[in-house]
């Protein structure tokens, strides 16, 4: 159900349309504030449930509460977010809208999704064989 609602949310909000996303990111041109409102709506709705969740060890259906614990602002976070931002600005797609558009829209979406999955797989390969500079984390396994 949640997946469906998420999909509907993206459709209703117009975020499945890359032109609207880029319209928000185009602050120097013709600015479409929609994305900001979408975020605001989402966060306002989410803030109470998440605050509740932070005090819990388990979810309502019994599974353990799995909130992320990392608090470090490391290089990966910044570089990753930057790369994501660039790709996002270039095509106006992030993972959610791309997947939502997959079935009903045309081939360019599929192209994006394939490239995105490839990028994800590449990233996984990279962490398995750390070519990272300055000898950061050594993998012992």
């Amino acid at each position: 159900m949640s997946g469906l609602i998420f999909g509907f949310g993206l459709i209703v909000s117009g975020m499945t349309d890359p032109a609207k996303v880029q319209g928000f990111l185009d602050i120097f041109g013709s600015w479409d504030p929609s994305l900001g409102l979408v975020m605001a709506g989402a966060i306002l709705t989410g803030i109470f449930p998440f605050t509740w969740a932070k005090s819990r060890r388990s979810a309502l259906l019994g599974a353990p509460m799995q909130l992320p614990v990392s608090k470090t602002l490391d290089r990966n976070l910044i570089i990753g977010a930057s790369l994501f931002g660039i790709g996002w600005g270039m095509a106006g797609f992030c993972p959610g809208p791309a997947v939502t558009n997959l079935v009903a829209q045309d081939t360019e979406v599929s192209l994006f999704v394939i490239a995105m999955l490839t990028g994800m797989l590449l990233q996984q390969l990279c962490i398995k064989n750390p070519l990272s500079s300055r000898g950061k984390s050594r993998r012992n396994t």
Binding site: M1, S2, G3, L4, F6, G7, F8, I11, V12, S13, G14, M15, D17, P18, A19, Q22, G23, L25, D26, G29, W31, S34, L37, V38, M39, G41, A42, I43, G46, P49, F50, A53, A59, L60, L61, A63, P64, K71, N76, G80, A81, L83, F84, I86, G87, W88, G89, M90, A91, C94, P95, G96, V99, A104, A115, M116, L117, G119, M120, Q123
Partner: protein, 149 residues
């Protein structure tokens, strides 16, 4: 900066956003999981997960839900027209960057932007600001300097 009043649809944006927030709320309250799309997809790409139904089942079902949403929508209405603004080369490069970047940075607009900010995570705030800024810079360069989109 001039506002694009023609495209701006505040009510749809707000309602849609609330639906997205609702999804995140349902997932965390009932399943204890973060509804971050890049993480959900990325985790499904890791081969070790497929032997563990408790790990892949909810993720696969979530994605299935997203994939079916437009089909269900079409049964009761018309889908909004989307405008792909870039050519295939740009799309491929963008896809690679989004895929790689979201996994490296541990999240995207739903993971960091919605879930992370809803739980007041400073790390997510930094990530969100970073991709918003780089996104804006990219659009500026592509649209107003290179005239590519």
């Amino acid at each position: 900066m001039n506002i694009d009043w023609q495209s701006f649809d505040p009510w749809n944006a707000l309602v849609g956003g609330m639906l997205i927030g609702l999804t995140a709320a349902l997932m965390i309250v009932f399943l204890g999981r973060i509804a971050g799309i890049s993480g959900i997809i990325g985790r499904l790409l890791q081969s070790d997960i497929w032997g563990r139904p408790s790990e892949w089942s909810w993720r696969a079902v979530f994605i299935l839900g997203m994939l079916t949403a437009p089909l269900v929508w079409k049964m009761v209405g018309t889908l909004p027209v989307i405008h792909v603004t870039s050519n295939s080369v740009i799309i491929v490069i963008a896809g690679l960057l989004v895929g790689f970047g979201t996994r490296l940075g541990s999240g995207c607009t739903s993971g960091h932007g919605v879930c992370g900010l809803s739980r007041l995570s400073f790390r997510s705030l930094v990530a969100t600001i970073t991709f918003l800024l780089t996104g804006m810079l990219t659009v500026y360069v592509m649209r107003h300097i290179l005239r590519l989109t």
